[in-house]
Amino acid sequence: MNLLTVLVILLPLAGCLVVLALPERVAVGFCVYVSGLTLAAAVGMVTWFDYGRADQVQLSVDLPWIPALGLRLHLGVDGISLPLVVLTALLCALCAVYLTRPAGSPDRPRALVSLLLLAQVGMTGTFLALDLLLFFMFFEVVLVPMYAVIAGWGGGPGRVAAARQFILYTLLGSGVLLTGLLVIYTSTSTLDILELTRRGGAGIGATVQVVAFLLVAGGLAVKVPVWPLHSWLPDAHTEAPTVGSVLLAGVLLKMGSYGLVRIAVPVLPAGAAEIAPVLGALGVVGIVYAALACLAQRDLKRLIAFSSVGHMGFVLLGIATLTPAGLNGALFANLAHGLITGLLFFLAGGLAQRCGDTDIAGLGGGLLGRAPRLGGLLVFAAIASLGLPGLAGFWGELLALLSAFQPAGALDRELYLGFMAVAGLGAVLTAGYLLVMLRRVAQGPVGEPVADVSAVEWVVWAPLVVLVVVAGLWPRLVLGVTDGAVRTLLGGG
């Protein structure tokens, strides 16, 4: 069934090219078809995945590609990547369906579809790649299509500037990342992530590890984004079209944190131990900073975008503890954030389409009365986002905090206790801005009614809602898969 691993990349790739040859009017339908098939393949992977061996890479493909670079086409999934692969396929499929709304059919659909599928190739590939350079390559594939989607289909007047800032900033990050990866390569002569993980830093000097970790983590930090490297994100999310925002927040940011878990921490353990406190500190600063910034935001999409910084702060804190619990939490939070923020951006997009704007004051409030289902979904998503137990947002935050309470032995415990306390405070502030937002958007005097959730929107949003609830109630679904893999990653820790 290794074919599936290839299929989840090849299908969108083929779709991205084929769609260019099709007439405009069938493009969106074709996209639904392709991304649906890809989702089916991803579900196939879920089916054939052996959960007993979740800590090992399965369904793998390993072919030589560019011997001169030492680059191999090495793909596969384990407990860490499987959930993210599925998330990507799911969100892409949902985005495709979302494009079929009669009210919101996009301008130049063929090009948009092609770009989205290309982005999907990159995102999926990033999670599947088991070769440093292959990872980097897929990491880069996403940039151009995302840029084009923002610049070409964005809403506001600042879209081109926002897109440009996005691509330049993230390219800066990936350049630094590449440098870090090549530092690893020059000191180990292998690009194979599994082999490097097995070695666990053996053969790389302590200083080199620190330098390489700084570079790799620094590069990925832009994508995550880590405070204070986040300034591309609010603009990009705000200006992007709905599907763009969803993919940006839902998948793209995860590529950064996934890279930290997959490469930075296991391959460079000594470097990680040295730098992790800094990451943790930046993470908690990000949580509080983003929450405060959100409190003062006037635009709904911008608020959601900033909230991503905060949520990724929890992810970062989890990773920075270098414990299985922390990494589990980070991976879970990744997934949860993908679902929840994806939903939030969908909702914000729906609102923008109905009210013409996402300015919070301009939305007029009282949404629960003007479109009860839409308002209800917004309330649900916001509550999920603030980390309510029983919904997906809870477990990631919980584990991040718990792991900060008992970080890995090499780390300074007092410091992490401080992190935990600040992060806890940040969680309160997070609740604060989300509820204030609800107050201003969903509650208050009821104005003119707007169209409630349409059929297509239900199709797109319902799976997200269901998954948020399911993952919240039955976290084992994810943690059971990641736990073993994470422990293997940290060397049986």
Partner: protein
């Protein structure tokens, strides 16, 4: 079917009602769903509690790993013993009464389906807190309660004040919850398990510092959730929610959940007396302060809300001096009479359309059932015999007295004396504010225009009132089994005497002018008390304003510094390019000069370096 399974089902029944009711409330019959779920929970709860009562020493515990976490796993299971069984029954019964009452109370409300489902969800969450065997699951229930409270307070979200109150309640409680969660971490990690039984078993081995930290952190959570000083200001505002919600959440169950948790983890607290001292002091402040506020509050529901704070403080005070059984006993009796009082207040509101004391008056004839049941409730609140409140308060005073005399108590005698004094003072004040509210509501001339309807309320509402009046009146007798709950002569006399003074004073004040609020007699102090010593303003001025200002600053910094730093770098690069391009001036001789000078520099550099 084991007891554990039954208990689990008791939790799941209202949860299922909520899970079905939230998305499908408009399709299915919301009321049937909610009532059946809650009824099932109550029935199962009684069954479970009866098993527990039959074998008081026995503990039923089930546990399955909910999820691995990478460290201590989270387990899903129930812990049934006498304590949890009894409280669970109380919760389910009050919830049932409230659900029933709500059918009538909200019969014209289009949002009833979501309301009913949320109440069911709340019930499930509260039962989770009571029955769960794992502290993290307790925390989960604890938080879900919070969000339900938030949503239900904001039930009428059209009014800005209501949604503001909802947000405030959630944030203040969540602030405490952070401490609560960290307390759980400390206990769980130290004990190597989050299971309550494991934690309690490990308490004797744990270092004192750990226990102190854990219990202090737990106190923070408890204080927030139970609206104790200094996190008390949300509860009066929470009265923006519909009366039955106040009855269930903000009187009977959620607010008292903190008491339950402390009782549950009492061994840990006993081993950390400093925490209990802190708890005692906070309780004393809350107790007296809230009673004073209740004395002057101008809104019937706010009177009740302050009285709730005050009464919950009594329970904490009891726990602090080691009187666990009276504390739990008060938890139960308070649940009964306070739920009753709120439901009565709801009936009043339905009749009059207002809950301002200045709008009420003379309702005695119009609302006979409400009058009778509410009178019972008030009597219980004031601790007048023979109501349940009398027995409990007497037990509390007795326990405090013993502790003050140096009896076996985890806190020192000084604290006990403080607690005793506060108890007595609160008894006096309670008598006074109860009388004031009672008189202003039911006696004197009617002060607002309204159309009296007959009957005063549909039976679906009066039935719960009557049902709750029974335990409010008689629960005290059920407690006679316990040694600590039997009335002692001296203390009984003392507390009744004090309550009586309060009653008489209030009556005297009212008698002088039935239209006027007797609290006017307090003069300037009235305003001070009514605002709970300006604590709310203080928070608004300091914390809330500071956060808001900080948020503006951060947003500005983000925009001007972080964001502009990035764009500034880009602009700088462009400018630099603009400077460098000046060298490309078109003059080939300049080019050649550059070339040759460059070569020269390179050559000299190389020669010097070799």
């Amino acid at each position: 079917m084991t007891v554990g399974t039954l208990a689990a089902l008791a939790v799941l029944a209202p949860f299922a009602a909520a899970a079905l009711g939230l998305p499908l409330g408009r399709v299915l019959s919301a009321s049937a769903l909610a009532l059946s779920g809650t009824f099932l929970a109550a029935a199962l709860g009684i069954l479970v509690a009866s098993f527990a009562a039959a074998a008081p020493a026995r503990v039923w515990e089930t546990a399955a790993v909910l999820t691995p976490t990478g460290t201590i796993p989270v387990t899903l299971g129930v812990l049934v013993d006498g304590l949890s069984g009894t409280v669970a029954v109380m919760v389910a019964l009050v919830a049932l009464a409230v659900q029933m009452y709500s059918v009538g109370y909200l019969r014209h409300d289009p949002r009833y389906p979501s309301y009913a489902a949320l109440v069911s969800l709340f019930t499930a969450a509260m039962l989770t807190v009571v029955l769960a065997a794992d502290l993290l699951v307790v925390y989960a229930g604890w938080e879900v309660m919070g969000i339900c409270s938030y949503l239900l307070i904001g039930h009428r979200w059209e009014r800005q004040a209501n949604s503001a109150a909802a947000v405030k309640s959630f944030l203040m409680t969540r602030f405490g919850d952070v401490g609560f969660l960290f307390g759980i971490f400390v206990l769980g990690v130290a004990a190597g398990s989050f299971r309550i039984s494991d934690v309690l078993a490990a308490v004797p081995e744990l270092p004192a510092g750990t226990l102190l930290a854990a219990t202090l952190l737990l106190v923070a959570g408890v204080v927030g959730r139970s609206a104790q000083f200094p996190l008390h200001t949300w509860l009066p505002d929470a009265m923006a929610g519909p009366a039955p919600v106040s009855a269930l959440i903000h009187a009977a169950t959620m607010v008292a959940a903190g008491v339950y948790v402390v009782a549950r983890l009492f061994p840990a607290f006993e081993a950390a007396p400093v925490s209990l001292n802190v708890l005692a002091v906070l309780a004393v402040v809350s107790m007296v302060g809230a009673a004073l506020a209740a004395l002057t509050a101008g809104d019937l529901k706010r009177v009740l809300a302050y009285s709730t704070i005050s009464q919950v403080s009594l329970m904490f005070a009891a726990l602090a001096i080691g009187a666990r059984v009276p504390a739990v006993g008060h938890l139960l009796s308070h649940a009964a009479f306070k739920a009753l009082l709120f439901l009565c207040a709801g009936a009043v509101i339905m009749m009059v359309g207002s809950s301002l004391l200045t709008d009420l008056g003379g309702l005695r004839e119009v609302m006979p059932v409400t009058f009778v049941t509410m009178t019972i409730g008030f009597a219980a609140l004031a601790g007048l015999p023979p109501t349940s409140g009398f027995f409990i308060k007497d037990a509390l005073v007795t326990a405090a007295e013993q502790a003050a005399r140096g009896g076996p108590a985890p806190v020192g005698a000084a604290t006990a004396v403080l607690v005793l004094g506060a108890l007595l003072l609160t008894g006096l004040l309670t008598g006074a504010y109860v009388t004031r509210a009672w008189l202003l509501t039911f006696f004197g001339p009617p002060r607002a225009r309204f159309q009296p309807v007959h009957p005063e309320a549909p039976p679906v509402m009066t039935l719960p009132l009557l049902a709750l009046a029974v335990p409010a009146l008689l629960l005290g007798f059920g407690g006679l089994n316990w040694e600590t709950l039997r009335p002692q002569r001296d203390s009984a006399l003392l507390s009744v005497l004090l309550a009586g003074i309060g009653v008489v004073a209030a009556y005297a004040g009212w008698r002088a002018d039935p239209v006027r609020d007797p609290a006017v007699a307090l003069g300037r102090l009235r305003g001070l008390f009514a605002t709970a010593l300006h604590t709310n303003d203080l928070y608004e001025r300091t914390v809330a304003r500071a956060v808001r200002r900080l948020a503006t600053v951060v947003a500005g910094v983000d925009d001007r510094v972080v964001g502009r730093a990035v764009t500034g770098v880009g602009r700088g690069a462009r400018r630099l390019g603009g400077v460098i391009r000046l060298t490309q001036n078109g003059n080939p001789q300049f080019y050649l000069t550059g070339l040759l000078a460059g070569v020269l520099l390179l050559a000299v550099g190389v020669v010097l370096l070799t």
